[in-house]
């Protein structure tokens, strides 16, 4: 027994835990600024700083014509897109990490309860019914919530291990919405609607305008904060239901809130960017490699990492070729080999 540690002495935490979030935040800020300057019309970093100063602080630093141009490019086109990338990356990674803890399984993704198929199906249905852009987004969001609602409803029908029933409910609900999506695709006009649906399903941020981004940013930020506030409870839930109850935790209530927050923010990512897979699965793994499984630090790190990752991947998607490569394709191409590699390690701590 070590007597080096006096009774009550509090050990220092791992150094990485303290400086890593700061480092990631700085990296994210740098990536955002660089992404703003990159594009068909390159803009120097100094000009971005000058423009931001004028835009945010009202401190004029350039001619009105130049300001108008920059306002158009930076404020109307690039900023919403970059902001959307950060928000979506953060939302998918954080809800993925939360689901992995909650379901005590490092191999689940935020789509476990069917939110992603549900939202895709909703969006496709919206396009089929030729609702306006807003209508499509509303259908998308509603579809995501409905799918998770059905999954929970199915889980409620049966007795037994709650987590297992939820997972089965999610599989059933997800398959249901995937089938409905196929029907919608089959019925869609092959010259006009079908390509739009397919393009949506590949995921991408070209549709991210300032109105949409602004509208989703508030609920996404609230959802992220909600998940992070419950990090302590997530730790306890990852030890199993009965243990959590014996520690005085209201498991049903906490789980309901966690599923609610994770579902809302995941559905909103589909509203803005379509289906962007694999982020919510691999970023939590990287986060856990860096700071360990304690959700109090893991969730903020995942949010930062996810934001950083998606900003960079989105830059690649819009700049690598003359035409834009759908974002979801790139995240899958990166995610699948990475996942195959981590699977070996993930299994170790699982059985």
């Amino acid at each position: 027994m070590s007597k080096v540690l006096a009774v009550g002495h509090v050990p220092e935490t791992i150094p990485a835990r303290r400086w890593l979030p700061v480092l990631l935040a700085l990296l994210l800020l740098g990536a955002v600024l660089i992404s703003l300057s990159l594009g068909k019309y390159p803009i120097a970093m100094q000009e971005i700083v000058l423009f931001m100063r004028q835009q945010l602080l009202g401190w004029p630093g350039m001619t009105p014509e130049r300001y108008e141009l920059l306002r158009n490019i930076l404020w109307e086109i690039r900023a919403p897109r970059v902001a959307a990338a950060v928000l979506i990356g953060a939302a998918l990674s954080t809800s993925g990490a939360a689901f992995q803890s909650m379901f005590i399984n490092p191999l689940v993704s935020p789509g476990l309860l069917g939110v992603l198929p549900g939202a895709s199906c909703g969006a496709a249905l919206g396009m089929l019914l030729s609702q306006g852009w807003f209508g499509v987004q509303a259908c998308c969001f509603a579809g995501g919530l409905l799918a998770v609602g059905i999954a929970i409803g199915i889980a409620r029908l049966y007795r037994g291990d709650r987590l297992l029933m939820l997972i089965l409910g999610g599989i059933i609900s997800g398959s249901l919405f995937t089938s409905v999506l196929s029907i919608v695709k089959y019925l869609a006009d092959p010259y006009d609607q079908l390509p739009a649906i397919v393009y949506w399903l590949m995921g991408g941020l070209s549709m991210a305008d300032s109105t949409t981004t602004l509208a989703v940013s508030i609920p996404i930020l609230i959802g992220l904060c909600g998940l992070m506030f419950m990090a302590r409870y997530l730790n306890v839930l990852s030890m199993g239901d009965e243990e959590a109850v014996s520690l005085g935790v209201n498991v049903r209530l906490i789980r309901a809130w966690l599923i609610f927050f994770a579902t809302v923010i995941s559905a909103l990512t589909v509203v803005v960017g379509g289906l962007i897979g694999w982020v919510g699965l691999i970023i939590p793994h990287i986060g856990r490699m860096l700071v360990g499984p304690d959700n109090r630090i893991l969730l903020p790190v995942c949010a930062l990492l996810g934001g950083l990752y998606l900003v960079v991947v989105d830059d690649v998607s819009r700049l690598l070729l003359n035409v834009e490569i759908p974002l979801g394709i790139i995240t899958a191409l990166i995610g699948i080999p990475f996942f195959t590699l981590v699977l070996k390690n993930a299994k170790k701590g699982w059985g």
Binding site: S2, L5, P106, V236, S238
Partner: protein, 277 residues
């Protein structure tokens, strides 16, 4: 002083009755062992004592109030649960696992502070595993993990501990360490209820025994009165003798082993064993 009282408790999963009219009570500072064959309802009984299962009839009283009447946080500050060997999926640091014991003391919006961490370290130190505080929970041994969970229970501020087969899966050395630790804590006034498959463990440390078979109470009372040949035979459907070796020490000897031992070796036997044979 009575800490826990189980009164005519019956419980079933669906149509399958598991506990039938079980009653006993437990005093403060006692170390109670729950004995019974596989599937006799030991774990279920422990869970009902924690208020985790809805009873069909009867009630469980903690400090003379029904456990179901406590709010979960309040109960968690009084009774702690140490589950069976863990399926650990995430490599939390040992200190983080122990810190979870502070959760019933914190509001929804307050984070753990230095005091909580100091209390967690104190609990680890009390069990002699303070040096493990920064090790991953998944990489320490089963015995150390069991100690960490007991540390968490201490950290919870609880005075009554419910342990589900704590010695299961531990090597012999760690079994001894664990039992000694529990016995020591019991002298400090902590109350323990543990299920076990080892009647010898019971004879070493337990002050009280509850025997369960097929969901029914077989016997209940002070260890000396209850751990007898008749009761063990009935409990396990195997003939087991209980030898009094010293004035205050007994061991269990299976009848088949006894017959082999006692055939023609009497000259080499210590007097106590000779008498027992």
């Amino acid at each position: 002083m009575t800490m826990l009282k189980v009164k005519n408790v019956s419980f079933g999963y669906g149509d399958r009755p598991v506990l039938k009219d079980v009653s006993f009570s437990i005093g403060k500072g006692s170390l109670v062992a729950l004995l019974g064959p596989n599937g006799c309802g030991k774990t279920t009984l422990l869970k009902t004592m924690l208020g985790l299962l809805p009873l069909e009839s009867g009630e469980v009283l903690f400090e003379n109030q029904p456990v179901t009447g406590f709010d979960r946080r309040g109960l968690a500050r009084r009774i702690a649960y140490v589950p069976q060997i863990h399926r650990a999926s995430f490599a939390f640091q040992v200190l983080d696992v122990v810190l979870m014991g502070r959760i019933p003391h914190k509001g929804y919006w307050t984070a753990y502070n230095r005091t909580d961490e100091a209390l967690a370290m104190q609990a680890l130190d009390k069990l002699g595993i303070a040096h493990l505080h920064d090790r991953p929970y998944t990489e320490i041994s089963g015995g150390e993990r069991q100690m960490a969970l007991i540390a968490r229970a201490l950290c919870q501020g609880a005075h009554t501990f419910i342990l589900d087969e704590p010695a299961n899966g531990l090597d012999y050395g760690n079994q001894i360490k664990l039992l000694e630790q529990l016995a020591e804590l019991a002298t400090e006034g902590y109350t323990f209820v543990m299920s076990t498959h080892f009647p010898d463990h019971v004879l070493w440390v337990a002050s009280q025994v509850v025997m369960l078979r097929g969901g029914k109470l077989v016997a209940e009372g002070a260890t000396d009165d209850v751990v007898t040949r008749e009761n063990l035979c009935h409990l396990y459907q195997a003939d087991v003798q209980v030898w009094q070796l010293l004035e205050n020490f007994k061991i269990c000897v299976p009848e088949r082993l006894r017959s082999r031992l006692c055939d023609g070796q009497r000259n080499f036997m210590p007097q106590a064993v000779y008498d027992a044979c």
